[in-house]
Each structure stands twice: as C-alpha cells, then as structure tokens.
Amino acid sequence: MQNVILKCENLHKSFRKKEILKGVSLEVCNGDILGFIGPNGAGKTTTIKLILGLQKIGNGTVVINGFDVEKNFEKAISKVGAIIENPDLYMYLSGYDNLRLIANLYKNVNENRIREVVKLVGLENRINDKVSKYSLGMRQRLGVAQAILHKPNLLILDEPTNGLDPEGIKDLRNLLSKLAKEENMGILISSHNLAELESFCNKVCIIKNGIVVETSSLEDVKKAASEGNYIIEVNDSKKARLIIGDISEAIDNLHIQVHSEKANIPFIVKKLVLQDIEIYSIKEDVLTLEDAFFKKTGGNVID
C-alpha cells in the first residue's frame, strides 16, 4: 500500500519579476525514488527549497506527511531528511560532533543510532576526524548520514552525485535502494547526471523552465520517447532502404532504422527477405534516459 508522503501542487515562485517556477506539481510515495531531472536553471533547487521551507512559496501548496509546510512547519519537516546543494557541514567539527549536533535536535536519536548510521554509510574509521580533512566523497556520505539520522520517511537529495567517484555513486545507489526498500522511505533526488539517475529511480519528473514536462514511471518515459524505433542489421542497408521506403533511414552500411508500429515489423521483414536481403538481427531501440531527456526538453536551453 503506497501512501503519498510529499505532495506539491501548482508551485509558483518569482525572483523580482522573473518567474522561476510556473506551476510545479509532483508527488512522492513511500518506497518511491523519484528522479527530479532538468537542465541547469530549470528550477530544481528552487522547488526543493520551497518544499523544505527555505524560501517562501509564491503560490501553491506543499504538504508533507499531511502537514502544510507553511502553516505547520515544525510538524511537516520533522520526518524529512535533506541534503541541499552541497552537504554543508561544520568543517571545524569532527564528523561525530556534526552528527551529535543534529542528534541533539531530535528526540528519537541516541548514541546507538549514530553508530548505526555511521556504519551504514561506511565512515567508522574516520568519524572522529575533522570534516575539513574529509574528501568530497566522505563529506557526501556524512551528509547522507546526517539526513537519515532521525529515521525520516522522506529523503530529499539535491545533486547528491556531484563530485562522487563511480565507486561512491554505486555505494550511494545501493544505500538509497536499500533505504527505499527496507525503511520504505520516499526519496526525491534531483540531478542533471542522467546516466546515474537511470539506475537509481523508479519514477521521473522532468522539469524545464519551471514547468513539469513529464511525470511517470521511468519505463514509461523511455517507451513513450522511443515508440516504434527498430534497428535492423542487414547486409546492404542502401538496398533495404529503397525496399522499405520513407519510414526507414540508413544508419550505416549494415544498419537501418525503421520507424513503424510493432504490428508492421513482420511485414517489413517479409518484404526484405523476399528481396534477398540478409537479416542478422532486429532490436527495439530503447532510448537511454539521457536521450529521452533531450527529446523532452529539446536540449539544454535556459531562457
């Protein structure tokens, strides 16, 4: 049973006269990892700041766990963990002291929980060092640790993969999947690193110029964007192109791309076979998230 944890409706925000958000709506349920994607300047960070009450909402509502963020901030935010932009920590304190400070602000966090979280993010050996001596990856881990310390049911991460090496990204992915599955957390994760998000999320929300252009499950986005594209490997692509006609396009000497409904594919194959074209393989061209993203947003343009 999925409950809606975070619900944003029709968010608007302007700075001076420039409208940054023009009606953003999104939903996160428990167990979801929602990828919040958009080019730089699309309004990802602004949306997250509105959700967390860091900026005043121009218009619209944010409801977390049934509480309105503006009207009942303390209750709404109490089960939210977040990393915004960078994991901003007190550099002159040790990792442990940083966590201790956070722990003081919640009732349900004790010494055991701190140890548990430190182990979860794999910082046991360095937790008593000053944060100023940490690498960016370690800070990111500590950032995650402080965000999940109080067992939130909604985790909001703004560009968490920035500066992480592939190993770190893999660890983070595993950690987040585990949190979503085992603790049944809802996770909102923004990024422009699309290749990474693909392996993280089960839902995506694409935003461009302050407007949500697509919200659905990851598979749907890809399917929708790649509908009816097939690549056929043949021995002579030019000849094949002539046989099939305008719906096809030669990619190189051996590959031809066909845009068609699925039901038509057998007929096309039959045609080619009858004309003595040799067919080695046919595969549906499933777009990567990145391709889908560019298709939806029409490239990375800020206006």
Partner: protein, 485 residues
C-alpha cells in the same frame, strides 16, 4: 529550545576564535600587571633637567652682566643655574626640591640682584642671605616641618591683616574679594596643619598629591558657593560634582591616612575603563559571526530544515551571545583578580572601594568585589546593546566584517555624539541611546550626563532600543529566502 542553545554553545566553544580572544586578553592582563608592579612611582616633580642646566651654563658665557641689555637675561639665567644646582644636590624627588623651587627662589633672586644691580638695598640683601643660610641648614637637617611652620606663621599674619582690612571696608565688591582671599588663606592654613598633623612632607607622594588636589577642588567649589546648583547647565553640573567628589575623597584620604597605589585593587576599581574594549571585542565578535557565518558556510540550510521554527533558532543564538558576554565579563574580572593578585599581591584588596555619595554628602566604603559587580551591572547595557547591534547587523547583512565594524564605530562615536549634544544643547538627545546606556552615572546619587535624565527613564530607553533591534533581526531572519550559497 534548550537543545538549540546547547548546540550553539558547542559551535562557539569548538571554534578557535574565542580561545584566541581570551588568550590575548589574558596576555594583556599579565603584561599590564607586570608593568604596574615594576613601575609604581608616578608621583614626581620635574624641576631638574640635566640638559637645561648645561644649556644655561653655556649660554651664560655669552652674556655680559655689565652690559645693560644683557643684564636681566643674565640674572634670570644665573638664578636658574643656582636653583638647578641646588636641586641636583638633594635629588629631584626630594622635599627639598619643592622648597628650593617654591620658597627659596625669591631669596636667591634677591641675592643675585644685589650682586649685579643696585636695585636691592643692603638690608634686603642681609635679610635674604639670612633666610637662605638658615634654610640651607634646615634642608641639610631634613627639617621640612620648619618650612611648614614658617608658612603657617605668615598665613596667620596675612589672615589677621585681611580681617583688619575687612572691618575698615564698606564697599561690597571689595568685601567679597577680601572674603575670597581669606577663604584661600584658610584653605592653605588647613593644608599646612594637615601636613604637620599627618606628617606629610613636600616630597612627592600620594598624600602630597591629595593635598594639592584637595586645595584645587575646594577652591573651585568656592566659586560655586553663591550659585544656585539647580540652574547649572549639564556640563557645569558635571564639573561641579567632579570637584565636590574629588575634594571630599581627598579629604577622606588625608584624614584617614590612606595611600592608594596602582595595584590589583586600583585595577579592579577601574576595571571597566581598562578592560571595556576586551569585553566588547569578545561580545561583538561572537555575536557578529554567529548568524552570518552559518550563511557564509551554507550550514544555515542544515539548521533551517530542522523541526524548529526560525524564531526559536534565532533566539537561541541571541541567548547564547548574551550568555557568552556575561561569561566573558566574569572571566576577565576573575582573571584580573587572580593574576593581579599573584603578580601584585592580594593584600591591597583589604582596602575597600571609597566612594563619595552625593545623596548623603558623605564618603562611604564598599567591598572591592561588590563594587566591581555593581559597576558591572550598571555598565552592562552598553555591552548588551552593542552586542545586540552586532547580532542584528549579522542577521541583516550576513557579513561578519560589517557586523563587527558597525558596533565598534558606534562605540567610538558614542562619546562624540554626547559631547556634540552637550555643546549645542540638543535636548532630543535624551531619547537616543548613548546618554542612557551607562547607568553607573546614577550610582551614589551621581548626576547623569544630561540633567533631566533619570535612571528609570534610561532603563526604559535602553530596553526600547534592545527590543527594536531584536525584533528587526527576527523579522529579517524570518522573511529571508535562502538563496544559493
């Protein structure tokens, strides 16, 4: 809320800033106490300068006493040379130095005049020579009381003369001037009697200074005798009260034979004028950075997404600033008490604080520690308001440097503002904070900087300024959008 406060304390005390400030303060305390210990003789006369003796000796060679044009300069130089030579013999800080330069100089002058010109009669010369020889003997015998007695004798004679003069005069103006002269003579008589009674020689010392100071202040007070005190302007009243206080305090020192030194006690009595800057630096630097630093490092976001509303977060920070200010004051007082005691000895603390009470017109005493605490409470509004100003600037501008600079400039300009208002008689100044924030003016019946101020009024003005600053910072902090950091 308690947890927020606890966290802010952890953040402040885990940073190096406060420790560096405290170490500098301790260094200053140590240094100033050591300097005081080894440099404790600041009462001295300055009659003799080796250089000027050499100067007169070389210059006089170019002068010819037989040339009428040079004569007066020659006599003057010769006079200086003899005085300086005689002073050199007994030492610059001896009682003899005072007698030579103030009592003997006229006899010496007469003797020289007789040698080089014929304005002086034989009789006058013999008399002067006799006085001089007699005096030299007393100087060698360390008999300073002789000179006091001589002085007393001549004063008594003058008083009698003036009294006779008074009985023969009817003119009011002349009578008034005779009364002034008699007052002055009586004052000098009192001083001489004290010298004999309390055994205070002319040699530079605290009590010798006290005698001088008493004389000068009592004389100034006499000028106000026929004035209605109520009608004095603010700065005249300050001056009058100052004289009243000094005259009475010095009288108390003389009568009770109290010698005050630059020691641990005196540093504590004047604690806030010596250490005010250090208190302010700690209070202001902490308050100036406590909000803005979180913005500059981006950690404010961490704090604001915790389940506490922004007012609580800000107030926790403010409370911590105030507590640290109080702790800093206590720390510096105790450091001075202990370090000053270790360096200069604790025995000076047995002498209480000596205060003139304007309400009862008496001198009263008070335990030194209690006195420091009392002054501290009265001066606290200054430190609190400047710390709050730093805090407010920190919240509004999120710029630490600016938030440090503004209160310090305010502190430096504050006395200037008061002086300006006094000079141009600007009455509205009483609604400004600077004439009101030092409550120590009201202690012991003292008068405030501006006549029509009262303690309750000042407290209310300070509170209003405090509340305005706190509310401004709350509004700004609550409304602020956290931009990209």
């Amino acid at each position: 809320m308690i947890n927020l406060i606890k966290n802010e304390f952890v953040k402040v005390f885990k940073k190096k800033t406060i420790y560096i400030l405290l170490i500098i303060t301790l260094g200053y305390i140590l240094l100033s106490n050591f300097i005081m210990k080894y440099n404790n003789s600041d009462y001295s006369y300055y009659y003799y300068y080796g250089d000027s003796l050499e100067y007169y000796k070389s210059e006089i060679k170019n002068l010819d006493p037989n040339n009428p044009a040079d004569l007066s300069t020659y006599i003057q130089f010769e006079n200086n040379i003899r005085l300086l030579e005689l002073t050199e013999k007994y030492g610059n800080n001896s009682w003899q130095a005072y007698v030579i330069n103030n009592i003997l100089s006229s006899s010496i002058n007469t003797m020289i005049m007789y040698e080089y010109s014929d304005e002086i009669t034989e009789d006058a010369y013999t008399k002067a020579k006799q006085t001089y020889d007699n005096a030299l003997e007393k100087l060698d015998n360390d008999d300073w009381k002789y000179f006091v007695e001589q002085d007393l004798k001549s004063i008594n004679e003058s008083i009698e003369e003036q009294n006779i003069l008074k009985s023969n005069t009817k003119d009011k103006q002349t009578l008034a001037s005779i009364d002034d002269t008699i007052f002055d003579l009586n004052l000098k008589k009192q001083i001489d009697e004290w010298r004999l009674e309390k055994n205070i020689s002319y040699a530079p010392s605290f009590l010798n200074n006290a005698l001088d100071s008493y004389y000068n202040n009592a004389l100034s007070l006499h000028d106000y005798e026929n004035t209605n005190i109520e009608e004095l302007s603010s700065d005249e009243l300050q001056y009058y009260n100052n004289s009243l206080e000094n005259a009475n305090l010095n009288k108390y020192y003389i009568e009770n034979n109290i010698t005050l030194k630059n020691d641990n006690r005196s540093v504590l009595i004047n604690f806030f004028s010596s250490y005010e800057l250090f208190i302010l630096i700690i209070g202001i630097v902490i308050a100036a950075s406590i909000v803005s630093e979180e913005f500059n490092r981006g950690t404010i976001k961490l704090l604001l997404v915790k389940p506490y509303n922004r007012i609580k977060i800000l107030m926790a920070k403010f409370i911590v600033c105030v507590l640290i200010l109080i702790l800093a004051i206590i720390f510096i007082v105790i450091s001075q008490l202990i370090l000053g005691g270790l360096i200069q000895g604790f025995d000076s603390l047995s002498i209480p604080a000596i205060i003139y009470n304007f309400d009862t017109n008496t001198v009263q005493t008070m335990n030194v520690i209690a006195y420091v605490a009392l002054i501290g409470i009265c001066k606290f509004p200054i430190y609190l308001l400047l710390t709050t100003l730093a805090f407010t600037c920190s919240t509004i501008f999120t710029n630490t440097a600016l938030a440090v600079a503004v209160p310090f400039l305010g502190y430096m300009v504050s006395s200037l503002i008061n002086q300006f208002a006094l000079a141009y008689n600007i009455k509205q100044i009483i609604y400004f904070v600077t004439p009101n924030w030092d409550l120590s003016y009201y202690l012991f019946g003292g008068t405030p900087l501006f006549k029509n101020l009262t303690a309750p009024f000042s407290i209310i003005v300070c509170l209003i300024y405090l509340i305005i600053m706190v509310i401004t910072s709350i509004i700004v902090f609550k409304k602020r959008d956290i931009k990209n950091i």
